[in-house]
């Protein structure tokens, strides 16, 4: 097995994803199959290969940065318009820090 039930639960927590018991069982099976296929990559010696970080060309990390000039952006009203809960221009979420 490439992945265990325990690891699936751990990764689900990292991904902030609640899975049902059925989903966990299915996930162990599916991920195991996919990770087994992925093992194929180990057939290749890539010790002398550069990772492909840019799709098209090599450029300076700053090549596409723009000048830091203030520009119009979404209004506060538009930004929170799709929130489930909002108030006074903010998103509302459950209590984060308990006293």
């Amino acid at each position: 097995m490439k992945i265990t039930d325990k690891e699936v639960r751990y990764v689900a927590a990292l991904a902030n994803l609640t899975l049902t018991e059925d989903e966990i069982g299915r996930m162990v099976h599916d991920l195991d199959e996919i990770l087994t296929h992925i093992d194929k990559l180990n057939e290749l010696d890539t010790s002398a290969v550069e990772p492909m970080a840019q799709v098209l060309y090599d450029a300076d990390e700053t090549a596409t940065l723009r000048a830091d000039v203030e520009q119009p952006s979404l209004t506060n009203e538009a930004a929170v318009a799709n929130a489930v809960k909002s108030g006074a221009g903010y998103y509302k979420v459950p209590l984060v820090i308990e006293r």
């Binding site: 992945i3 690891e7 699936v8 990764v11 689900a12 927590a13 990292l14 991904a15 902030n16 994803l17 609640t18 899975l19 049902t20 989903e23 299915r26 996930m27 599916d30 991920l31 199959e33 996919i34 990770l35 296929h37 992925i38 093992d39 194929k40 990559l41 180990n42 057939e43 290749l44 890539t46 290969v49 550069e50 990772p51 492909m52 970080a53 799709v55 098209l56 596409t64 940065l65 723009r66 979404l74 538009a78 930004a79 929170v80 318009a81 799709n82 929130a83 489930v84 809960k85 998103y91 979420v93 459950p94 209590l95 984060v96």
Partner: protein, 478 residues
């Protein structure tokens, strides 16, 4: 007035408006009527926008009446995949999580379509967050292939492909990350084009895998696909990966001059393809030969590693991109949200479908502590090898021709229980995606059962013109 919408081209719309055979408003009304009627069979559309469409059409009619240039896509009815945001118009990404999401802005490609006079009539169904190869992963039900309604239209842009194939619009926008435009184009018998990475701005395309995502056009012929791409392509300061390269006149490249072009046939793609699909592609290659092209066998040795590479890179990027759907900003929150963490986890657990969960999990796993080098870094290196294979091949050939999919459209439900088999069927489209090169599907006949099969044409970075020239010459000769 009678409008044969299913046969109209962009040029036909221009002629019709010019000769007053119909107005843009009449054309938009007919598209809306036809799309509404066919939707009962195809489920291709999730949202219609009659008011916006008729308003856009009236603007075109007014411009024409005033003697102004109404734009290269004036009055052309267009459908847009529901992963591309449209200001004020619901954009669901095929997900329950965004069922009620009304974007506060439009994608750059949408602004360009509208600026060119295009008339958007609705948003099309797709696999949830563009993840899938059959359009069966939509929270709003599968799309049915207009050619054979018990079969899938392909995915993830199945709704856009079906909308064009069923003649409800002249063209459509989809998105392609690993084949999501080319494969449905192949299954539905239309043209689908994935341009060079960065050719079209991704601003406003809801991100799945950012280093692979493209906004990409569908049309019923090569020329219309070229015209649509030209209208949306070009540098956009809002997408730092959009290419700062001039956009050529693609239609001007459709001159039939393909004599002497060297066409690479990758042996790795054909050796395991003993099927009707393979026969149809070889018949298409014979047509190219008659046109004076010279087929050459080539090798792309890293092909066998492409699926593994793609499903590491794409899922890693997806796990990060989809983190934003957390119950705070985007319209849906679980009832079980007692704490911040339970709000995140239950919203996502209840909201995402099975395929999204699988990809988020795989992506999170390959990026988790201790696994980065073994998976993500390794995949980035193999991606380099795959890109180098193509670069080397293009030293000796002008274009590469392959099948789009190992098989034609399959039955709805036939492959849903085997995710790995579904992933493996993306083999012919994924390699070009990883290399970031232009690739397209052009119809190459039908099987004995009448199911369409697409031929894929791939060219060098930014050589969309060469790709269109070959596809168009083939289309005219076939």
């Amino acid at each position: 007035m009678s409008i044969e919408l299913g046969k109209l081209t962009i040029g036909g719309v221009r002629e019709g408006l010019k000769s007053r055979a119909f107005s843009a408003e009449e054309l938009a009304s007919e598209a809306l009527r036809s799309a509404g009627e066919q939707n009962a069979t195809t489920n291709a559309y999730l949202t219609f926008c009659p008011e916006l469409a008729l308003e856009a059409a009236r603007r075109v009619d007014q411009a024409i009446a005033a003697g102004e240039n109404p734009g290269p896509l004036a009055g052309v009815p267009i459908a847009v995949k529901d992963v591309i945001v449209t200001e004020g118009l619901r954009t669901t990404c095929g997900s329950r999580l965004l069922e009620h999401y009304i974007p506060p802005y439009s994608a750059t490609a949408i602004h360009r379509l509208e600026g060119a006079g295009g008339v958007i009539i609705g948003k099309t169904n797709c696999d949830e967050f563009a993840m899938g190869s059959s359009n069966e992963n939509s929270a709003f039900g599968p799309v049915h292939n207009p050619v054979a309604p018990d079969r899938v239209p392909g995915g993830s842009s199945g709704g856009s492909a079906a909308a064009v194939a069923s003649g409800t619009v002249v063209a459509a926008l989809g998105s392609d990350t690993g084949g999501s435009v080319r494969q449905p184009a192949s299954f539905c018998g239309v043209v689908g084009v994935t341009p060079t990475y960065g050719r079209v701005s991704r601003y406003g395309l809801v991100a799945y895998a950012s280093s692979l995502d493209h906004i990409a056009p569908f049309a019923r012929n090569v020329k219309d696909a070229a015209l649509l791409l030209e209208a949306i392509a070009g540098r956009d300061p809002r997408d730092s990966t959009s290419a700062d390269a001039p956009v050529p006149d693609y239609a001007a490249a459709l001159d039939g001059k393909v004599k002497g072009k060297r066409i690479g046939l990758p042996r790795e793609y054909f050796q395991s393809l003993a099927s009707e699909t393979g026969d149809l592609i070889m018949t298409a290659v014979d047509v190219l030969k008659r046109l004076g092209c010279e087929p050459v066998e080539i090798s792309l040795p890293a092909t066998d590693y492409a699926i593994a590479t793609y499903y590491i890179i794409a899922t890693a990027e997806a796990s990060s991109n989809l983190a934003r759907f957390d119950g705070v900003r985007y319209t849906t929150r679980s009832e079980k949200a007692e704490s911040l963490i339970s709000m995140y986890r239950n919203t996502r657990g209840e909201g995402f479908g099975a395929e999204c969960k699988r990809r988020i999990m795989l992506g999170t796993y390959v990026l988790s502590a201790g696994y980065y080098d073994a998976y993500y870094l390794k995949a980035q290196k193999v991606r380099h090898l795959i890109a180098q294979d193509f670069a080397k091949a293009f030293e000796t050939v002008d274009a590469i021709v392959t099948p789009v999919s190992p098989f034609p459209a399959f039955k709805i439900g036939e492959k849903v229980d085997d995710p790995l088999a579904m992933y493996l069927s993306d083999i012919y489209t994924i390699t070009g995606s990883l290399a970031g090169i232009p690739c397209m599907s052009v119809p190459a006949g039908v099987t004995a059962d009448g199911l369409p099969v697409g031929m894929q044409i791939l060219t060098r970075h930014f050589d969309e013109s060469g790709m269109f020239r070959l596809a168009h010459a083939y289309e005219q000769a076939a």
